[in-house]
């Protein structure tokens, strides 16, 4: 009898709207009430609802797996064992069926066309030509940047040393990916770490920027979907997960300009065929989160 699901998502607004509409078309009779905002704001909202013991959403579609891992550890998520995960890498979904990645949003390097050299690897940003010209989103404020931080610091080749040397080379932070992109696009800074779709989409419209995946590989957030253990309509919620993981759902993601998570789906225009990812241990990331952020604040100030 319950034909409505509530979705909290950090998808971009237009995308969220399209996703919901496509889902409703595919599953007539299920109504969707949705709310979108940035991942951390969305989590705050959800936290407040947890505190008041009245969480509203059935489905959660947010940026990163670390957050999902935390929720899983708190027992907030429902295990969906029979989810259609065929065609997905093992790293892209929870082995207990608590959450499933839906796309790959990588963090790579963006540079302005005016830049004196074209960076190939992360370490290129340590060159003296890049002094005072590097900007990146602060992991203290942005979820995707936090994943990037954990990925970099877990990489034995880069580690904290990279950050220390970047800071010494005059790299600064901005609140989020948007700020980083704007700074590079406007030429105020010339290099930055940023999530892929901002420069890729805007380059197509004329922005003087280029996005590359560094030789070391990119970090990624994978926009996992999960069902809350307190869901009012778990059946409807499962349908929503099914839809996102289906070819139809994945093609939609690609059409929206994201790298799809499922194999065999054509990536959108401007994206590389395959993105090389650095590995990330989400459990370790979650455990180290507070300390790493403190360390980051020490290195970059703030």
């Amino acid at each position: 009898g319950n034909s409505k699901i509530v979705v909290y998502t950090s998808q971009l607004e237009q995308d969220a709207q399209q996703t919901v509409e496509a889902f409703k078309k595919a599953n007539p009779g299920i109504d969707v009430e949705w709310t979108r905002t940035g991942t951390s704001a969305l989590m705050n909202k959800l936290r407040a609802e947890f505190t008041a013991e009245a969480p509203r959403p059935d489905v959660l579609l947010i940026a990163d797996m670390v957050t999902m891992e935390g929720l899983k550890k708190e027992g907030r998520l429902l295990a969906y064992k029979n989810a259609p995960v065929k065609g997905y890498d093992k790293e892209l979904y929870d082995k207990d069926g608590n959450y499933f990645s839906t796309k790959i949003i990588s963090t790579g390097i963006v540079y302005n066309e005016k830049a004196p050299f074209k960076p190939k690897s992360i370490k290129d940003l340590l060159r003296s030509e890049a002094k005072n010209l590097v900007i990146m989103p602060s992991p203290l404020y942005s979820g995707a940047a936090a994943i990037h931080m954990h990925t970099i610091t877990q990489n034995p080749d880069l580690g904290w040393k990279l950050y220390e040397r970047l800071a010494a080379n005059g790299a600064v932070t901005s609140k989020g990916n948007g700020g980083t992109f704007k700074a590079v696009a406007s030429g105020e800074k010339l290099y930055g770490f940023v999530i892929d779709y901002l420069p890729i989409r805007n380059k197509l419209k004329g922005s003087p920027v280029t996005f590359i995946i560094p030789e070391e590989g990119a970090s990624a957030v994978t926009e996992p979907v999960a069902i809350l253990s307190t869901a009012n309509n778990p059946e409807g919620a499962k349908k929503f997960v099914d839809f996102l993981l289906s070819d139809k759902g994945q093609n939609l993601a690609s059409k929206q300009g994201f790298m799809p998570a499922k194999k065999g789906i054509t990536p959108p225009e401007g994206f590389p065929e395959k993105i090389k990812l650095m590995p990330l241990d989400t459990g370790k990331a979650l455990a180290n989160d507070k300390n790493s952020k403190k360390k980051f604040a020490k290195v970059f100030g703030g």
Partner: protein, 573 residues
């Protein structure tokens, strides 16, 4: 205790003075303004309903907390001083001298309150940065990567100060309009020249107006997030509000309790500002005896053009530059593209107006929310001010500093308080307003009550109580008196307050970003979402539309305002 003895002790007003209205007013104030804050602060000391000071202690023990507190104090105080200086200078020039185009100047000085501070910051950085079209044209643009002076504590203070200057300006201007000219003339006959009169008479008499404006500016500064986020994060300069955001961006279940604990600090700081204000006001008497007469017009003589060009330079810096920057980025197809005849496009406007139905919905929602909030706050504010000032009600006087809290807290924190409070169905009617537009309205009421109330309290302080007594003598009952006498007398002040509220609420973001859901998006949310998607050019065009809408609205108000009591419309001298 018998009702009459409570009344005598001043907790409730004496009989016949609107007792029946008083109780609902008090309840409304408490629920609207204090409950969300109190609910949140409780979370700081009793996370998840279990009493425990552990998290609070941990927060207090951290070095970063104290650094942020120090930064907040520094930025807040210097910005308040700057706002006072700029607001005073503009207020005195426009309110007391024969400077030309006073109405236009006032009007222009009000508009910047409508421009999100981040936009101003961004436009300044661009104007004086490596990619500045202006500086590049002159060939003096700094090389890319040159450290920008705006990314510093001083930059934050400068921008906050300019952003809040209109608050001081408007408060001062309405104060000046109520000052009898004899006050100044008496000093002139004592031989005091213009400067002396200004320092000895005008400014002291304007202490209520100035402290009201300054306290408001201070509270706004310490609660502001946008500017420290824009300018402080690259400089590694953390203030309390950005620290709260850091906490909120953490993974883990303690997030809210930590933010709530830090909010207690912000609250204390805001209270400190407000109490300082009450202390200043209680020390001396500022009631003006005598009717306000023809306003003063000091002749500036030959120095007029200096004053005028000073004013216009300020206007150019705080209005023309940011709006021009916004306008330019609304005309290009994508961020970073240089505007030229070839690249210019109106596609962004067409897209937001016709392809993006949320924009129109947001306009309607924001208009209704801001209009509703300012109207309701005027209606609540007038009786509150009346009971507090004219009836010297001790309960309200005790509550008044607390009303400031929701305004000082970062919007996200306040909205978390609202969620905690309103997520369960309301007790009597049994429906939940959570997830509807009503919770945003209530959050706005809580947030802006102080803003709307301040000018009203100032107005009551400066009006002779005998005005109301004369109406009582005529047999007019409480409601009648309020409507016929108190309302029109306080209308100018209330309208100023209402306008503040409207402007602040119209493109409010930080509160609504947690409270909106599909269908109840506000303009701030729409702009934020577009910006978040990397569509800065779209968000710029919506911002330009917002500014146009506000200017249109202000013009309509001016047209209607010709019939309203003198002073209702701040920019009509």
């Amino acid at each position: 205790m018998k009702l009459s003895s409570i009344a005598r002790s001043g907790i409730i007003p004496a009989r016949g003075n609107g007792l029946s209205l008083f109780i609902p007013v008090i309840l409304a104030v408490c629920i609207l303004s204090l409950m969300p804050t109190v609910r949140l602060l409780i979370e700081g000391v009793a996370p998840d309903g279990v009493w425990g000071l552990g998290i609070l202690r941990e927060i207090i023990g951290e070095q970063s907390t104290w650094t942020a507190l120090k930064h907040t104090m520094f930025v807040g105080l210097s910005a308040t001083l700057l706002a006072t200086f700029v607001g005073c200078a503009m207020g005195l020039l426009i309110g007391l001298t024969d400077i030309r185009l006073r109405k236009t100047l006032t009007f222009c000085f009000m508009v910047p309150m409508m421009i999100p501070p981040q936009i101003t910051a961004l436009s300044w950085i661009q104007l004086f940065g490596p990619s500045s079209a202006l500086l590049n044209m002159l060939g003096i643009a700094p090389a890319p990567g040159t450290p920008h002076p705006m990314y510093s504590a001083w930059g934050i203070a400068l921008l906050l100060g300019i952003q809040q200057a209109p608050l001081v300006f408007l408060s001062l201007k309405s104060g000046l309009a109520a000052m009898p000219r004899e006050m100044v003339e008496a000093a002139r006959t004592c031989g005091a020249g213009k400067t002396r009169v200004l320092l000895d008479i005008v400014l002291p008499l304007m202490t209520p107006a100035l402290t009201v404006g300054m306290a408001l500016a201070f509270v706004s500064c310490i609660g502001n997030f946008g500017i420290p986020a824009m300018l402080g994060i690259p400089a590694g300069y953390t203030v309390l509000t950005t620290l709260i955001y850091q906490k909120l961006a953490n993974f883990g279940p303690d997030v809210i309790a930590e933010a709530a604990s830090l909010s207690i600090l912000v609250s204390l700081l805001a209270l400190f500002g407000v109490l300082l204000q009450s202390y200043v006001l209680s020390r001396k008497d500022f009631r003006l005896v005598g009717a306000p007469s023809e306003s003063l017009k000091y002749k500036l003589g030959k120095k007029k053009w200096i004053a005028e060009s000073g004013c216009w330079i300020v206007i150019i810096l705080i209005l023309v530059v940011p709006v021009a920057a916004l306008f330019i980025s609304s005309l290009i197809p994508s961020y970073g593209v240089v505007l030229s005849a070839k690249t210019m496009t109106f596609a962004n406007y067409i897209s937001v107006l016709f392809k993006h139905d949320a924009t129109i919905r947001a306009f309607i929602n924001s208009f209704a929310l801001a209009g509703g909030a300012s109207l309701i706050l005027c209606l609540i504010g007038i009786p509150v001010g009346y009971f507090m000032v004219w009836q010297r009600n001790s309960l309200l006087r005790f509550l008044s500093p607390l009303i400031e809290l929701p305004y000082a807290l970062p919007g996200v924190v306040l909205s978390i308080g609202c969620i905690l409070l309103f997520i369960k169905p309301l007790p009597v009617i049994g429906i939940s307003i959570y997830g509807t537009i009503w919770i945003i309205l209530i959050a706005y009421l809580a947030r802006f009550l102080a803003m709307g109330l301040r000018p009203i309290v100032g107005g009551f302080l400066q009006t002779d109580v005998a005005m109301e007594e004369a109406a009582r003598m005529c047999g007019a009952g409480f409601a009648r008196r309020m409507y016929d006498i108190v309302l029109p007398l306080i209308m100018p002040a209330a309208a100023t307050g209402g306008l503040f509220v409207f402007l602040a609420a119209f493109n409010e973001l930080t509160v609504s970003v947690l409270l909106w859901s599909s269908g109840s998006e506000t303009l701030g949310v729409v702009i934020y979402n577009m910006d978040d998607s990397g569509n800065s050019v779209l968000s710029s065009s919506v911002s330009i539309l917002v500014i146009l809408a506000v200017i249109a609205l202000m013009l309509v108000l001016s047209a209607i305002g010709r019939k309203a009591p003198k002073g209702s419309i701040p920019w009509q001298c």
